[in-house]
Symmetry: C2
Subunit: 391 residues, 2 copies
């Protein structure tokens, strides 16, 4: 039969990154393309102990249907964690989701009508474009500067487009690694206060700050915003748990949408993650991840500075898993990708991360999932390809 799909499906290509990742699955290739946490950081031994305890003590409960909102003690853990960072979020304002990706889908579902204007950073997180994209909004973007979004341009865009949402990743953004300074956080809160635009703050990497000062989320200065979090980088991405916090009125709609989407997130997984976070030395675990990622990031940054031509720029992230490279004006990262692939090294061409008018001379590099040896070899090969392309 001839299937007729919904109009929305015509607007969302399958993830460019996923297609690229397929190319780079070959184990011979040194890939900086993925966005994977380092599996050496996974606490699977502790998770195993905890799983046994949960199933022995509460097996029948853990395997039964549960509430849409999520496991209350886990919601309390999130609430307490925010409290410790100076953000007031009640456990009732926390909805447990399947990673923060599902939070994005739910936000799109409850807020977006066709053609609604949505503001994003330039560049922005590709998967947010995909999630929101399925609700058929019109995207506009505001440039990122070294210490956060350009606030003047943000203010202009708010007036010009009256967007329904402004989506941003203020900590170690994917793809750029850029973080907002405290001043920018406050300014963003100030210009959004009193507007009709809901601020959607995505913070999957917040706990992975390995240098510089830690700042509270923008929500600390803008209570009515929506804030997404994830256990993917704290515990495990494969377990697919995250959360979304929002004021009661928004929470009510999110719960309705979550219920229709999949009833609730796995209770077994929620109980395992909660017990792990409550009873194991999570701070020490996070310190281990931070120090691992810092040394990978330090090595990659210093090699780029040494090996790449002087007219290539790169960000110097204070946390997270990515950095952003800007090639000389006019050089195409897609061409570079093809050349680099011959040298068996891969990255993600930057064009995928733009809501509009992509900048073709950019690329995203992941440093969290490569050994020192691979970083060294990979960056040298990439430097060779860039010089080749410059000829």
């Amino acid at each position: 039969m001839k299937y007729e799909f919904a109009a929305r499906m015509g607007k969302v290509p399958r993830s460019f990154i996923r297609e690229i990742l397929k190319v780079t699955e070959d184990p011979e290739i040194i890939s900086f393309a993925g966005g994977l946490p380092n599996p050496e950081s996974f606490p699977y031994h502790d998770i195993k102990e905890v799983a046994v305890q949960v199933l022995e003590e509460s097996g029948a409960q853990a395997l039964q249907y549960s509430t849409t909102e999520g496991y209350y003690p886990l919601r309390e853990w999130v609430s307490n964690r925010y409290q410790s960072k100076g953000v007031k979020v009640d456990p009732e304002e926390v909805l447990v989701t399947n990673g923060s990706q599902q939070g994005l889908d739910l936000v799109g579902k409850i807020f977006l009508n066709q053609e609604d204007p949505v503001l994003v950073e330039r560049p922005t997180y590709l998967a947010a474009l995909q999630s929101f994209g399925l609700y058929e909004p019109v995207f506009y973007s505001v440039p990122l500067e070294e210490d956060g979004v350009d606030v003047n341009r943000l203010e202009e865009a708010l007036h010009e487009f009256d967007p329904k949402l402004f989506y941003a990743v203020p900590n170690f953004q994917n793809p750029t690694g850029i973080s907002y300074s405290l001043k920018r956080r406050k300014e963003v809160a100030r210009v959004l206060t009193g507007s009709n635009t809901v601020f959607v703050e995505d913070n999957p990497y917040g706990e992975i700050r390995f240098m510089g000062e830690d700042y509270p989320p923008v929500k600390a200065f803008l209570e009515e915003s929506v804030l997404l979090g994830s256990f993917s980088k704290i515990v495990s991405p494969g377990i697919r748990l995250g959360w979304i916090t929002a004021p009661a009125e928004v929470m009510d709609k999110l719960v309705t949408a979550k219920q229709a989407s999949d009833l609730h997130s796995s209770l077994l997984s929620q109980m395992i993650v909660h017990r792990y976070l409550s009873e194991y030395p999570v701070e020490a675990h996070l310190e281990k991840i931070r120090s691992m990622y810092k040394s990978q990031r330090d090595l990659m940054v210093s090699l780029i500075q040494e090996e790449f031509p002087d007219d290539v720029q790169c960000t110097e992230p204070e946390g997270g898993m990515f950095l952003w490279v800007t090639l000389p004006e006019g050089m195409s990262s897609l061409e570079l990708f093809e050349m680099a692939l011959k040298e068996q090294v891969a990255f993600v061409p930057g064009q995928a991360f733009y809501a509009e008018e992509p900048q073709y001379n950019t690329l995203r590099m992941n440093f969290s999932n490569s050994s020192a040896e691979k970083i060294e070899t990979g960056i040298k090969r990439l430097a060779r390809s860039i010089r080749e392309l410059e000829k």
Copy 2:
């Protein structure tokens, strides 16, 4: 601030059942309202063993990001299970979801434009109305008869409304417990063949047939249809895993939608469920569930026949977890609900299960999650309330 939600949110009330379940949370109340499997059937001891094995042998893999389509060996298990029932489904045609509820959401997402006509059974599964409802279709319904949907009316509806989807639950339907005879299955396939309507076959209870002959799904006679399944009733609902099978062209869109919705389902959970299904005596486990539910169903049916007035009808399901009661014409099950609550017994008033023109003298009873003693006491109390209301 004043939040402006998407228009779709105005069309979907929060689940009536969930609201009712809240009322019936009081442990003093004998509740036939829920839709919970019997936790005595959960293999949590085996799941614990399996979780330990998975985390010991493949911990780093199980906790890492994975493919959107799902864990291949689990997709193969589903494929083989169908093969054994005479249905040809390739592993590549299986997408792992968070319960079959997510399958419904994804089907709505990829197929439904606003105002698209969707055909459902009368009555139908409430959560399907909610999932699809968020994509703003127009619902039409076709009556269920004792052995399946009224095929003449189905044929008429296909001509009259040219629906995008026809959604049905041919095995032990929620809410009625009705199953399609083999003849009806073939007739449904026949009238749908060559139409523009995609058949969406939901089969969460198929493995829980405790009497009568087992028939293949309608998909066995209609390859181009979409078929949803669930591990909720085979292994555990709280673990939130199910699947959806569809031809390659549809699968491709489903994968795109799943990716945007939550990237993938928990790999740890998928590996646990796969290992349990492969290495433990699942047939014996299913037999245990079937025999447990059969004795609960037998008791409830015979007590209803003995205790309820003669002009009250009830279905006699051959599987699943629910039966359907029809009160005398003119009697309201909502009024009965309020009276029964005073007697501390609860059920779900049937009106929630209609896409249009609800029949107010119907109600849904769950038999899988009450002890013999509770069934006996509960049905006697309910009989008293019905007689009271008849006065």
